[in-house]
Symmetry: C2
DNA sequence: AATCGATTTTTGACTCATCAAACTTCTGAT
DNA sequence: ATCAGAAGTTTGATGAGTCAAAAATCGATT
């Protein structure tokens, strides 16, 4: 099989991430979701998915959806690896802002060689997560997938550590950055108000911040590390 | 005008470099040279050059050749800037080898944003030349073009500084690296032998090295800096 | 000046990725 | 059980970039 075009890489990545986002383990991504993730019309996604199926990268069930094969999963994970290492590199080494590296990495991930990516991995000390807290797959495509709670489900008035932000929107990330809500930060949920559709969170030394519930669901938290 | 595809960027870059390589200032690049530089058949180059002419990036004279317009020159210079800054960055910051950065930069130059390139430029201290001694155009596409001598034309038994290597071939660069013939090195030509088709060069503390005349023409040298 | 050979252009075809719009299938509500 | 609407698929077309091979042009040599 020839090297996958960046279009193929993007389809695989989108399918992979859509599979991850599903709660149930049916793992069948509907065409509509895939098409809108890739900003193409549904017919385009159908066509492309059929050719991916012919290459053995996905299994395609007409009118039902698509899922990655083992081969597709591995390729997708390696694309994600390139993306996330690149993001971390741009933040840590190049000094770019947390909020702007996603789009940059979106293009660089298709241009960087494995040599470069491995060099970056080494420079960064084989990191486990990228600047958004997303786990970085290893060279074999294996990836830790811890199950975090969200700001909607974690205990109230209890210290938790912001572990991961599952949205790459630049404006959202900028807001978080300005609010000092970045991965690693210890925070606590002061209250949730269903009527107001918000949660109030506060980091040590900061004012409390109201976050809409839709946004709060994108902030994943872990129990604080054992103190001492 | 929409942003140029990487194909367009590559054509402009190739025309620019072919113009530079010409001694006379006719500056008309024949289609055949362009086609082989880009590894396409001549017909493909003709077709593409005509569309470039329609965009006002080149002036095309059928059966004669092509030259860049001012707009094309500026765009080409900015591509070269991205390429050369990227190469230097990969060597200086990422620690890749002199010999392997060309191909990497060849792809990254089309993916890196202006923000990233300017950030790299700043990190590196607004450098004037890349690892091969090639001058780096500034943000406006302006570039210093010093006129060096080559190992074929410089005075014999006189110290000169290796300033620039006008060939990006990986194997050739590896050879130079192993022979300690890298830009900045002070060397002297011991002899030239037309019959043997070689020149003998020696760097301080090294053995003398025989270099074929074709290769020697690719090594550009400058007078040594005023000592003191 | 006529011609041969090299260079260049033209023509027709192909692949990849895409869209618009017609058509098909599925599903949930009655 | 039907059927309306949502979701998905098919069809036909497009644009970018390419090649192979036929045709045209140029130019150097006789």
């Amino acid at each position: 099989m020839a090297l996958p075009s960046s279009t193929v890489e993007n389809y695989l990545k989108a399918i992979y991430q859509a599979e991850m986002a599903e709660e149930d383990d049916t793992r069948l991504v509907p065409m509509g979701r895939l098409a809108s993730a890739l900003h193409v019309v549904p017919g385009t996604a159908t066509t492309m998915v059929k050719t991916l199926a012919d290459s053995g990268l996905v299994r395609y069930e007409p009118y039902a959806g698509v899922r990655l094969t083992a081969a597709g999963q591995k390729l997708a994970a390696l694309v994600l690896r390139r993306h996330r290492l690149m993001e971390l590199f741009l933040v840590e080494v190049v000094g770019m802002s947390w909020a702007e590296v996603h789009d940059e990495a979106e293009r660089l991930e298709h241009a960087a060689s494995d040599r470069l990516i491995d060099r970056i991995d080494e420079m960064l000390g084989r990191p486990a997560v990228d600047p958004h807290g997303d786990p970085i797959p290893d060279q074999d495509g294996a990836m830790a997938t811890p199950r975090y709670q969200t700001l909607l489900t974690c205990p109230i008035d209890t210290a938790v550590v912001l572990a991961r932000v599952t949205d790459q929107d630049t404006a959202f990330l900028r807001f978080l950055e300005q609010s000092h809500l970045t991965p690693g930060k210890t925070i606590r949920v002061e209250s949730r108000d269903a009527a107001a559709d918000h949660v109030l969170v506060r980091g040590a030394g900061d004012r409390s911040i109201a976050i809409g519930m839709r946004a709060a669901a994108k902030l994943l938290v872990a129990p604080p590390p054992p103190s001492g």
